[in-house]
């Protein structure tokens, strides 16, 4: 979103760049000669990126949408063009909440919503708190910054396997602390199966996600002009007031993009539950991506799996559009 804005503001400048050699008098050249002079160069430069995005993202996605209208089972896997059309049958199966498949999908959707709400909320909160607390210089600041980035740098599978070990019922750290050391539970609990699994998933996801929020907010803080703080402190504003009146409002645009990105990543996250629980997640932590994977690759029903993916995409599109609409309106309101 930010990128498109900057693209626009740049257009006029590049006009000047390309016509510079012809002298100031002809600065307002019509566009067409410009384009001829630069030839197809920009397109040539973009070609590799466009081809690759087409091959790996756009075309597969179109095929995915087409597949959702076909009865695609393992018999058609080598000849998926020959799979019979079924119209909206796959979608009907996916959303029929009175039948097992639709009911399970709805359940998985609710689980994912709850999970995303807490995982994004906490990751965002921790990231912002950490970045603000490290904004000023003090001894140990560089060290802490490195420490905070460790969860982000660790490969997902290595980190999440470690969490899976910590959540083991009999030999894990969590139960050792909660049961043996603090005596909070009557007996060691299960964390990776049963009702507690959603907590385990949220904790791991927050642990993995907050350093990214920290990184982005830290970068955002560096764009706040120092003069604002100086002026505020001359006016007698204390540090809490400066955080409330300068830091947080200045972070608004960064936060808006950050929350959206965190939401999309968390909602689609496959890696964390897959490494934590394996191919079949416990019912209470059955995230939508795992659920669709399970429906497609384990039960070999690709048509229904594709229909579920399309529904997921539609949902994400709607949420993103609404979010962008609300935040851009908010920004306009703030400007006015």
């Amino acid at each position: 979103m930010t990128a498109t804005v900057t693209t626009d503001s740049r257009t006029e400048k590049s006009d000047r760049v390309t016509s510079r050699g012809t002298g100031g008098a002809r600065r307002r050249l019509p566009r067409i000669p410009d384009r001829i002079r630069q030839g197809g160069l920009p397109y040539l430069l973009l070609l590799p990126a466009v081809l690759l995005e087409l091959l790996v993202h756009v075309i597969p996605m179109v095929i995915g949408i087409v597949m959702s209208f076909r009865q695609l089972t393992q018999f058609y896997i080598n000849n998926w063009g020959g799979a019979p059309w079924t119209g909206f049958d796959n979608f009907k199966i996916a959303v029929d909440i009175n039948a097992p498949i639709g009911e399970a999908l709805l359940h998985s959707f609710f689980v994912t919503c709850v999970f995303t709400f807490f995982a994004v909320g906490l990751a965002w909160l921790f990231g912002v708190a950490a970045a603000i607390m490290l904004q000023e210089n003090f001894r140990g600041r560089g060290f802490l910054r490195a420490v905070f980035l460790v969860p982000y740098a660790l490969p997902v599978y290595a980190a999440v396997i470690t969490w899976a070990f910590m959540f083991q019922r009999d030999n894990g750290l969590i139960n050792h602390v909660l049961h043996d050391q603090l005596g909070l539970t009557d007996q060691p609990s299960f964390w990776l199966i049963g009702d507690n699994s959603i907590y385990a998933l949220i904790i791991v996801s927050v642990w993995k996600g907050w350093p990214f929020a920290f990184l982005i907010v830290m970068a955002g803080l560096q764009n706040i002009p120092r003069e604002l703080y100086e002026a505020a402190s001359i006016d007698g504003a204390g540090i809490w007031q400066q955080i409330r009146k300068i830091t947080l409002p200045s972070l608004r645009p960064v936060n808006q993009v950050l929350v959206l990105v965190l939401f999309l990543w968390t909602f689609n996250d496959f890696n964390t539950p897959y490494v934590l629980f394996g191919k079949a997640a416990p019912e209470n932590a059955d995230l939508i991506s795992i659920h669709i994977y399970q429906s497609s690759f384990v039960t070999w029903n690709f048509g229904t799996g594709s229909a579920m993916s399309v529904l997921l995409l539609l949902f994400l599109l709607v949420v993103t559009a609404v979010y962008l609409f609300i935040t851009s309106r908010g920004r306009k309101g703030a400007d006015a």
């Binding site: 930010t2 990128a3 693209t7 590049s14 760049v17 390309t18 510079r20 384009r35 630069q38 920009p42 430069l45 973009l46 590799p48 990126a49 466009v50 690759l52 091959l55 790996v56 993202h57 756009v58 597969p60 095929i63 995915g64 080598n78 921790f126 708190a129 950490a130 000023e136 210089n137 001894r139 140990g140 802490l144 420490v147 905070f148 660790l154 490969p155 599978y157 980190a159 470690t162 910590m166 030999n171 894990g172 050792h176 043996d180 970068a219 764009n223 703080y229 100086e230 540090i239 809490w240 960064v254 496959f270 890696n271 897959y274 490494v275 991506s289 994977y293 399309v310 997921l312 995409l313």
Partner: protein
Amino acid sequence: MPSHAQPAALPRAPKSSSRRRSPMAAPQSFLWTRRVILTFLAAFALLPVYVMVSSSLKPLQDVSGKFHWIPSGLTVKPYFDIWDTVPLARYFVNSLIVAGTATVLSVIIAVFSAYAVSRYKFRGKRVFTVTVLSTQMFPGILFLLPLFLIFVNIGNSTGIALYGSRGGLILTYLTFSLPFSIWMLIGYFDSIPKDLDEAALVDGCGPLGALFRVVVPAAVPGIVAVAVYAFMTAWGEVLFASVMTNDTTRTLAVGLQGYATQNDVYWNQVMAASLVVSVPIVAGFLLLQRYLVAGLTAGAVK
């Protein structure tokens, strides 16, 4: 760790003056809040690291029984055993080839694209940036299966083995980091004065000469930042790695599960192997993190 965070607001370290702000001493309430928050977050961040390191040095009977904060006996045996239990060295090499190649290609392609968008005016520019960015929001699961089928079909019809090969995985991974890399480099290139490459053009450089002699050298921090991001994306990906690889091309993301699917889970070996595959990337990342923050500041967060 943050407990020696005493009169922090005093301007005693002039080296990072750009981020120092209030000349007034911070009140006790702030200092205590900061201590509490930072201690909690540091402990949270490092807890699994402690478990990883300490458990990797424990004998098997120790990790199989109740957890203990202090290892009962130290041993480095797991670090030797990990290479025999699963072919870890092969997975390591595979991951290195896949992530390394994907990173190099992704960065080169992103530099070209970002240069075009940052320096030229052309029809379809907006469509390009919006489309590329929106590919970021596709759920991976939606194009996993079609991509898998495309790769299988290309293999069947042309003999180019993409499915199960490193090439297919490289091709896939380089597109994952591409949108973010292009987006960030556009912002970064924009922050480099256009006078610089204009001057190069006037001096007789071609557009590509201006790109490689002027823009790229000036954008090194941004390029390092996207390279780090691309490498980490490829090194940590699990979903496509588990579907698109076979026994010989398996990467660490899938290979590490090998310790856990046996009857006995060798937790000390799992932890040792996790540490071995993490150390290079964490070390590299921490060395280069300053570039990442600088790159994000100039590129993505504006």
